[in-house]
Amino acid sequence: MRPPQKNFALKLTTLIVVTACFVVIGASLLVSKNFRNILTLWGEDVQMTVYLSSDLSEQGRQDIEQYLKDSGQVSDVQLVSQEKALSDFRVQLASYAPDISKDEELLKLIPASLQVKLASNIPASEQSKVLQNLASGLKAKQGVDDVGYGQDWVEKYAAFVSAIEITLQVVGIVIVLASMFVMSNAIRASVQAHRDEIVVLEMIGATTSMIRKPFLKEGALLGVVSSTLAVGLCYGLYVGLKSLVVQRLSFLQLGEHLTFISPVSVVIVIIGGTAMGALGSYLCVRKINDGWAASQRA
């Protein structure tokens, strides 16, 4: 007759707790990553309009375009000629004020412009600064009348983005610390359950590394299983939420921009989880050295 496996319940609990911790960590990584994706996506609409004076030569315009390209912060420059600006303007205004669209004098006032798109590798929080620098450089140039980029909106957006990033980082650190605390307690409890065994092994002359080895193995196994489970659960969560966003919030058009953590990150998470499990167990199995506790009277 084998005595009931009391440790089974404890092992299962440890596995569940540790897996839950990894899920929480993974989910927060996922949320913050996709949040950043979305913020960058929204930030991509940031454009700058460079209004050119009417007497600017072809050469002068090319110089300005070259200046923008040389800055390395610009992905696209489109010329909107006076004629194009005019026809756009006519189309837009025709229905509201058909009279104005025929006023040739007024139309002469509409300048040609360059539509400038910022490079996509510039983080949202930097856009405002980059635009400011570009604008002041351009204004000093001959043939540039004015530069417009919705200064107000861009600045507010940048501030919003950095606030979000700081929040995500703080929340992330809190979650990781809390999970590590919960995890180390779970591992300590399971090591504590083997206390009697450690006492006996010490007494009959097992070396520290002999005593630790099974705990290292068990901790590593716990780490592999729980982090793999957690990645799987996170993936399920991700697929579910994505389909929800695609179906219910289709107007946001975010579906194709939501991504799962990269395969490399998955491998890092699993290896890190394994190492954490092994290290946690290793640190919990210190010398107990009280084989005589039972013969001691209080």
């Binding site: 092994l201 010490e202 007494m203 009959i204 002359g205 097992a206 002999m210 084989g291 039972a294 013969s295």
Partner: protein, 220 residues
């Protein structure tokens, strides 16, 4: 085999658990250690089994200088001695066979050799027929005999037993003492701490008496 010279042990407090202990036990001797509760019996055994070090003085057991022993050497020293406790300290989730085999496994013996030796020792303590039982399902006397089998399987030079019969009734206690005497007769030095004065008197063995950390009597 066991030699103490001018050993003092002081715990924070300060509690003077051992004071100027001088003793010498030869190879193959059987010695009782008696004394009231708190006299220092367990403290003395802790010194012998390298669970604690003397505050001052020299402790020498089985050729090891325990005042100087390094942490890394302690496991190897413990493989040269055997220890028995009042509460047996058996592993509940292993059979009697598995419990007894532990010291040989740790030493790295081969399985066939372990099997042979385990059955030999279980025969010696009269437990061969219970080899596949779990400790919880055998009597207290049988549990202590399992613990003794585990303590002698590697043929240690020294066997120390701290109140090995404390949890057993008088008849079982006699059985266990008989067994320990037999172990001694095969050449192992046996050192037994006990409260049982009647039994000590009957057995007519060398007896050391401790009181307040000092040796106040030695029948040698």
């Amino acid at each position: 085999m066991i030699e103490f010279s001018h050993v003092y042990k002081t715990y924070p407090g300060p509690v003077h658990a051992l004071k100027n202990i001088d003793l010498k036990i030869d190879k193959g001797e059987f010695v009782f250690l008696t004394g009231p509760s708190g006299a220092g019996k367990t403290t003395l055994f802790k010194m012998i089994s390298a669970y604690d070090v003397a505050t001052s003085g020299g402790v020498n057991v089985a050729g090891y200088d325990l005042a100087e022993i390094k942490d890394g050497q302690i496991p190897f020293y413990r493989r040269k001695i055997g220890v028995i406790f009042q509460d047996f300290k058996l592993l509940k989730d292993r059979t009697i066979f598995e419990n007894v085999a532990l010291p040989l496994q740790i030493r790295g013996d081969k399985t066939p050799a372990i099997q042979r030796r385990v059955y030999e020792v279980l025969e010696q303590v009269g437990l061969a027929h219970k080899h596949d039982q779990y400790p919880e399902f055998v009597s207290g006397g049988e549990q202590q005999r399992t613990a003794i089998a585990r303590a002698i399987i590697h043929q240690p030079g020294v066997l120390i037993a701290d109140e090995p019969t404390g949890n057993l009734d008088p008849r079982l206690s006699e059985e266990i003492m008989d067994l320990l005497e037999r172990v001694c007769s095969q050449g192992t030095t046996v050192f037994v701490a006990t409260h049982d004065h009647e039994m000590v008197k009957r057995r007519r063995k060398r007896t050391l008496e401790l009181k307040e950390g000092m040796i106040v009597g030695d029948t040698k």
